[in-house]
């Protein structure tokens, strides 16, 4: 056939018509659409058998009781565990998103040895045997050199078998330097010691309280156990319990409160004493408690036989509402009104610990606030503040100490806690960096860090880093990469929080003691080792008396034996609550006079002379005309562990946008500095400066710059790392001269357009 143009065209048309009429194009179209519905790069979750595992999450300080939904061997979702004390079926954001920490990319997978410079983040995997012998060798060497006291341990909290294993390790090794991270609980601990003569932890019967005075505590922003506090808050709403929030900034807690009372920052103690003034003056205090169970309310004789003014007269002399109003900025009419309402309530309770309580604050504040509770007699009573005994279920036999241990153990602590200067303190870890930096040779030669993240959480992180640079050997037991692990020489990774057994004395602030049991939800994913096992094995490797002090085969045996008869209950229920009935007032206090002491021994004179004035913050007002205050936000974890991706996703765009943190300033403050919403600015403090964005917020006192805590993580997964600024980098500690605690509530600052 001759192919001319005509037949070619016809052929083309024929082919076109033919293929349209054939099923081929339709079939292809259909196949393509099916392909788009099953793209191979869009994961299809595998189905399987569903079951639940109960556990306790250790990601937050509150210790949320959780149940984990599993499909076959995969953990799918975390929910709250019904009936768990405090959290009762609920959990905080961090714990709810905990599975992302389990499967997330920053889970450390194997022991690591530093190969780059300190903090550079270059590590090489090594075997467990190698890692363990390296640590053991270091420790042996130090001990033979007679420098056992230069071993330091930093953990987040003191209680539970794991911190106690570290404490015991340090003790038998011969070092007093077992340290915990600062928190408002340190303030309460000291207050119980000096006002009630007790070694105790605070419990707050908030569910039964009927009037809440909060001196800047972020009641719904991470103070105590978050889910418990949310539920308490809802209960208050249902019962119409008044909540008064004193705070310079309209926080979420202030917004939820019945009444937000803006106050000059740092003046909380004065305000508390002003309230006390009204209560005393108008005879509204609890007569029975004050007259029969307290001391030094009235004038008293000191050891030298000199008469000292009592609490009553001191308060009446100095803190009349007009003066207090001037210092705090709270109108005196309001002070009077609140004081009356507070005193007339059945079970009023006053609380302190700023924000989520990451910084203790001045002991005066704790004293003034606790004195208010004393005035209304709401101590160890329904709806009041309880002094709970420290967890005592860990009853290991006293270890036998050899000469080195005794000698080393008797040396004064590096952080100064428990020394003559700060007798009531048990840990002052924020003082450690300065001590190291000021010394020629670091007083800490080997530092073991578990569960804590001092390089992120301690104030003035630059100084902390400098101090850590000076420590010859840092061993981290982190399960996830954090700022401190980055500074370590060796990382002996612990199992993740869903991969191990652990006792969790929890939840914080609950008025009954509870011990929860965290248990493995999934088998460990990587070549990690339970930190308890690591410590026990290290002790065994040290040999001699040290090995004998750790008689357990492994951690699980240690835990089972420690919990003894309770183990079964805990396995079944997930927790157990030791019997506790608070003693009556006549037996409750263990001060020398067996009374609640309004003016503690050591503090009497100091207060008398100096009075209580707001804690001054660092920096000169001319270079730094504003004042920076950190604040806690409930969607940002400010503790050792940062936000999981899901929680990052909940952060508002007025706190973080892309990599920029927002600081909050009042429109007037912004106007004065020529700043507008969203502009880039430089926030500088005596400790450093940072690039920030401005959020103009009506709910903040003019002159302040509020910075959210918990951002600016220098490590971790891509979802949280390098976003925003770590406020701890911009603020330094201010030492409370009496307690040694960090009393800083802010720092002077300046905010200028970038």
């Amino acid at each position: 056939m001759k192919i001319d143009r005509r037949s070619f065209l016809s052929l083309g048309l024929g082919v076109a018509a033919g293929s349209v009429l054939s099923p081929l194009p339709w079939k292809l179209t259909d196949d393509l659409s099916i392909w788009t519905q099953t793209w191979p790069w869009t994961p299809v979750p595998k189905d399987g058998a569903v079951h639940y595992v109960h556990s306790v999450s250790t990601l937050c300080s509150g210790g949320c009781g959780i149940q984990v939904r599993k499909v076959d061997d995969r953990a799918i979702k975390i929910e709250g565990m019904e009936g768990y004390p405090g959290s009762d079926g609920k959990a905080c954001n961090q714990c709810l998103a905990g599975i992302q920490k389990l499967y997330g990319p920053d889970h450390i997978q194997t022991p690591l040895k530093r190969v780059g410079n300190r903090g550079e983040g270059r590590f090489a995997p090594i075997s467990w045997d190698e890692a363990m012998s390296m640590v053991a060798e270091q420790l042996k060497k130090l001990r033979t050199e007679g420098k056992s006291q230069t071993l330091g341990c930093v953990v987040e909290r003191e209680y539970g078998t794991i911190p106690q294993l570290f404490k015991r390790f340090a003790k038998v090794y011969g070092s007093p330097n077992f340290m915990t991270m600062p928190s408002y609980l340190d303030g309460y601990e000291q207050i119980f010691k000096i006002m009630q003569g007790e070694e105790a932890i605070p419990g707050f019967d908030l569910e039964n309280a009927d009037y809440i005075l909060s001196f800047g505590s972020g009641l719904v922003e991470g103070w105590g156990s978050a889910p418990r506090m949310f539920q308490a808050n809802s209960l208050w709403k249902e019962k119409g319990v008044p909540v008064v929030q004193f705070e310079p900034r309209l926080s979420n807690t202030a917004a939820k409160a019945t009444q937000w009372v803006p106050i000059n920052p740092g003046a909380e103690a004065i305000l508390a004493l002003g309230l006390a003034h009204v209560i005393i003056k108008e005879n509204l205090f609890h007569y029975d408690f004050v007259n029969r169970y307290s001391a030094r309310f009235e004038a008293w004789e000191d050891g030298q036989g000199t008469e000292q003014k009592g609490f009553k007269d001191r308060v009446l002399d100095r803190y009349d509402p007009r003066y207090v109003s001037r210092v705090t900025g709270v109108p005196s009419s309001q002070i009077e009104k609140i004081a009356r309402e507070f005193a007339k309530a059945e079970s009023p309770i006053a609380l302190c610990g700023r924000g989520a309580g990451h910084t203790p604050g001045a002991i005066f504040e704790f004293h003034a606030v606790h004195a208010l509770n004393g005035l209304v007699g709401n101590i160890n009573r329904k709806g009041g503040v309880w002094a709970l005994p420290k967890p005592d279920y860990i009853a290991w036999p006293e270890p036998a100490l050899d000469e080195v241990a005794k000698k080393g153990g008797d040396t004064p602590r590096v952080d100064g806690a428990g020394t003559e200067t700060y007798p009531a303190a048990s840990s002052l870890t924020h003082r450690l960096p300065a001590m190291i930096n000021d010394a020629e040779e670091s007083p800490i030669q080997v530092l073991l860090v578990h569960g804590a993240n001092p390089c992120y959480c301690l104030p003035d992180t630059e100084t902390v880093r400098a101090a850590f640079e000076k420590i010859p050997c840092i061993v981290s037991f982190a399960s996830h990469m954090d700022e401190t692990a980055l500074m370590a020489d060796l990382i002996l990774p612990d199992h993740g929080h869903l991969e191990k057994y652990q006792d969790v004395p929890a939840p914080e602030g609950l008025s009954v003691p509870v011990i929860g049991l965290a248990r493995p939800v999934v088998a460990p994913l990587y070549d990690t080792r339970h930190v308890g096992d690591t410590v026990i094995q290290l002790a065994k490797a040290m040999g001699g008396g040290m090995a004998d002090s750790f008689p357990w085969k492994n951690y699980e045996e240690c835990l089972r034996k420690t919990l003894g008869q309770h183990w079964k209950t805990m396995e079944e229920k997930g927790w157990f609550s030791p019997d506790f009935s608070g003693p009556d007032w006549n037996e409750a206090f263990e001060t020398p006079t067996r009374n609640f002491v309004f003016i503690p021994e050591r503090y009497g004179k100091d207060t008398e002379e100096a009075g209580v004035s707001p804690i001054e913050v660092e920096g000169d007002p001319i270079t730094f005309p504003m004042v920076m205050i950190p604040f806690d936000h409930v969607r940002i974890a400010a503790g050792p562990v940062g936000n999981a991706p899901f929680v990052m996703k909940t952060i508002e765009d007025t706190l973080l946008r892309d990599k920029d943190i927002f600081v909050q300033v009042h429109p007037k403050t912004a106007g004065k500095a020529g700043l507008e919403e969203g502009v880039l600015a430089v926030l500088s403090t005596p400790k450093g400066s940072a690039k920030v964005r401005v959020h103009v917020y009506d709910g903040i006192q003019p002159g302040l710059v509020a910075v959210p805590r918990g951002l600016g993580r220098g490590s971790g997964d891509e979802f949280m790392a390098d976003k925003g600024v770590n406020v701890n980098r911009l603020i330094g500690p201010v030492e409370d001269p009496v307690s040694g605690l960090n009393a800083a509530w802010g720092i002077r600052a300046n905010l200028t357009i970038a």
Binding site: K649, H666, G699
Partner: protein
Amino acid sequence: MKKAADHTKPKRYGMVIDLDKCTGCGACMVACFAENNIPFKKDESEKLLSITWMRVYKLSNKKKYPDTDICYLPRPCMHCEGHEGHSPCVSVCPATVTDYSTETGIVSQIYTRCFGCRYCMAACPYHARYFNWWDPVWPKGMEKMLSPDVSVRMRGVVEKCSFCYHRYQRAKDKAYVEGRTDVEEEEYQTACTQACPARAITFGDLNNPKHKVYELKQDPHAFRLLERLGTNPKVYYVSSREWVRKSGDNYLKHEEPGHIATKH
């Protein structure tokens, strides 16, 4: 509109959210993300590109210091009933992807049918609908956390809150096995309701006098968002604060909330 199944009474699942209790903690969002396989990107701070079936808005009374006040408002899909099931989004979807069930009152979404025209997003005044601008990606290993109950959405489709419909199915299956025709109130609760630590969210059948929501929605302080548009949403809010109630809808200067006749 699907007709109600024969043997059970038609339900209208809905929520009552107590804004006095809500603390804005965001646990509802986190629980929702985990329950529904919501993807997450490196940067989620651009909220207009961030998939949050449940989103907690922050409201302000816009007053000056110290009279400033704020309130949080969790916003799931409102599962609007509109007029006889004509919710704003259902009637506009060209491919019958989204539907109002007269059996449950739930507005469904068939991801594999959606071709991503986003008309429904334009129709929804609550911004409850989200588009998958990117392929969902889980870092290596993290796909282990995906729930088999909810399919993962592919790039290019719209998604939204389903009132955890898979939980309803699960509850119904259970009821069926146990020889019951109906699902009990506590058997079917959404993930956000379950997670809300303030117990601010109550979920149930608005038609059923035995369910808590039935009573709660009649609170004199109850309101719904943008009622005046006639969307007829099934999520109620309760607030004791007047300015919050007023923030729930648009009012002319002389108008007062509660005195406006609304459609439906």
